[in-house]
Amino acid sequence: MRVTVRLFARLRDIAGTSELPREVAPGATIAAVWRELAGEYPDLAPYERSISSAVNADYARMDHELREGDEVAFLPPVSGG
């Protein structure tokens, strides 16, 4: 199934794009999408323990199962204010 990955701030810089269409196995978790991505862009790997994730613009846990057409976002540690 197809999902869209969105990346922000330094994660976007590392991947060189803010949006990536991905083909993933049905029922794939956010964590599975992240692992594949980190395999492709090794500089993402150190963020494994500090990222947050969101599905369709709501915060979600890494074990959340994705559905066809979902937008999954990966967020580095935040620095607003």
Binding site: R6, S50, A57, P77, G80
Partner: protein, 160 residues
């Protein structure tokens, strides 16, 4: 033009418009506390030239709604407005504006402080610092709105 209570975007923050938007609860309010966060010309020994803010705007507004709900649950006679700016900001410009209104000043002060602490913990916003000699993404807290320990810490700071 009506000013929304909660917003993220490139437009300049207007604290007076935000105070008007919050109103005075039909006369029931006795205190309004405002906070402006400014772009500072120094950070960790570096001379800062300017900042660029990036946000996940849709998630950001939802996060602001969550913070506003937390405020009203903790301080029932209190409400907030919150604007965060994105894009390039020069030294001295305001990146964030908060207005907290309440029947009594103690709650207005606490709610205002709580709100900025929560913004720093969970708002999906990032600043990139351009300084003399380079630039760097600033990375602070791992955003987890359900982290009750972090929320409690924000409340403790607010009520200190």
């Amino acid at each position: 033009v009506t000013t929304p209570l909660l917003a993220i975007g490139p437009s300049r923050v207007d604290i007076d418009a935000l105070v008007s938007a919050v109103g005075n609860a039909g006369g029931a309010d006795g205190a309004v506390v405002t906070f402006l966060g400014l772009v500072r010309n120094h950070n960790q020994g570096r001379r800062v030239l300017y900042l660029e803010y990036e946000a996940f705007e849709l998630l950001g507004v939802k996060t602001f709604e969550r913070i506003a709900d937390e405020v009203v649950r903790r301080w029932p006679d209190t409400r907030i407005a919150l604007h965060h700016r994105t894009g390039r900001l020069d030294i001295g410009e305001a990146s964030v504006a908060i207005v907290a209104a309440s029947a009594h000043r103690s709650n207005a002060y606490a709610a205002c402080r709580y709100t900025i602490e929560r913004v720093k913990q969970i708002a999906p916003v990032w600043k990139r610092e351009f300084f003399d000699g380079g630039d760097v993404w600033i990375e602070g807290a791992t955003a987890d709105p359900d982290d009750e320990a972090a929320r409690t810490q924000a409340e403790r700071v607010a009520c200190a």
